[in-house]
Amino acid sequence: MKSMDSLHRSYAMAKFLTYFFLILGALIMVFPFAWMILTSSKTVAESLAVDPVVIFPAKWMLDNFKEAVASLPFGHLYWNTTLMVFFRVICAVLFSSMAGYAFAKLHFRGKNLLFGVVLIQMSLPSQIFIIPQYQMVAKMGMANTIFALVFPGLVSAFGVFFLRQTYMSIPDEVGEAAYLDGCNQWQTFYKVMFPLTGTSVAALTIFTAVFAYGDLMWPLVVNSDLKMMTLSSGLSTLKGQFTTNFPVLMAGSLLAMLPMIVLYLIFQRQFVEGIAGTGGK
């Protein structure tokens, strides 16, 4: 048996180490953001100063942001990204709710085979679809449009899989009661079952939005016109324009990150649960 004294000491030590590593980790997580913000307000000379390093800009200024906005049509990028996210979320929620409900609650022939299609899509990396998807968009003459940005997200296999699980967790009796009250299958789904899936729909919304917002390859491939780009793909063009002007690059990065960070800070719990709760992809 250890003495009380040494137990206390080892407990205090464990506590100290826990905080030490948590704070160290937190600093490592925050540092890149802090450095981005500090750099975004520096002059080029300040940012390149080496001996000694300039940590704080002599004057907080917005010049770099003005230059970033002048070289990249941020207004368009925000608008395009918003529309892409909006339509992808609507499609994912609407179609996945319908299919998720049907797969969970209805009996129909071919159900297992069709659900197999959903599972196959889920387990394949999106890149294997990209070339033909791009060729379809190009053939339709729809490159450089909002539709092109939304296109691969018109349906979400992951959403179907995820919402099917949600509907399966709702007892059958709920639907049966509505059915006996004279609702048809569509009304049972739309009026009774769908409203019960609020938390999951919120999670799918956040997951879809964060994924669409961060995606880089598809928007780069399909929309080459700068005015039709998303925040991600637009920002990537900035690195070629300003190879050594880091303050402008950091201002641009901050502008691209800001909307999602603000939403995240407002809806923290929903974000963490939404992204982690969906199990990711």
Binding site: G25, L48, M98, F129, V155, A157, L216, M217
Partner: protein
Amino acid sequence: MNRKLSAAARREENWGWIMVAPTIIGLGVLNIWPFIQTIYTSFCEHLGFGRYKFIGLGNYAEMLGNTEFWKATWNTIFFCILTVPVGVALALFVAILLNAKVKFKGGFRTLFFLPLVCAPAAVAMVWRWIFNGEYGILNQMLGQNIQWITNPRTAVIAVAIVSIWSSVGYDAVLLLAGLQNIPKTLYEANSIDGAGKIRQFFTITLPMVSPTMFSVLIMRLMASMKIYDLIYMMADETNPALTDMQSLMYLFYRSSFVAGERGYGSAIVVWTVGLILLVTLIQFWGQKKWVTYDI
């Protein structure tokens, strides 16, 4: 099937088909057909403007004889070796810290999770600046002069650091949920036996969290095998270390959309998916040795 259906059952069946129709049609057009096309295209030469000529195994032969391709395959595997074990171990460490009784737990969780909501393009841009050889803050702090992104020996490592930094909070939140599911009574019974914390970790925590850890590992592995965006942002066409850091998916992008060789690009993506399938199967086969499902 000759089963007679009642009117109600038939109505239910019709509703079932109607409700899955948008999804199934969508998946057919957007995924199933493109999947078949990509496989077919990998046996073709792209003549331009979406026209193809069947050439059999030509693309695969070219691919397998190409050093750049093998380099990309190795880079991808090396990237996985760096990010998956280290990333998941770090995430488990963070999860254990967050599982302790600490103040501001929510605040810490928010911070660790923050990179997840930032576009990888923007994250990579910031790290490019931190890693900059001449003026980057990292070299200033270390008092070194390492050309992180342009030196062939460090380029993949630099990308791996960014990747781990980006994903550790997410993996930690998943593992934290696994840790919180471990019944407290297990620890209590164990501490009466006088077992030390470290032994407790290996006899209780690790086996109990191993199923969660397995799914995190699989997910991280699949994501790492597909790495593209961070490399796209951190490597430039002029980077001398380009071939030493490019991943398979980045090579796929360059071949298909920069060079326009879509047949060759398709062969690369088919190979990559095959490789992902293979390593996933190995993981599932290997899990028997270390994942505990029954306690």
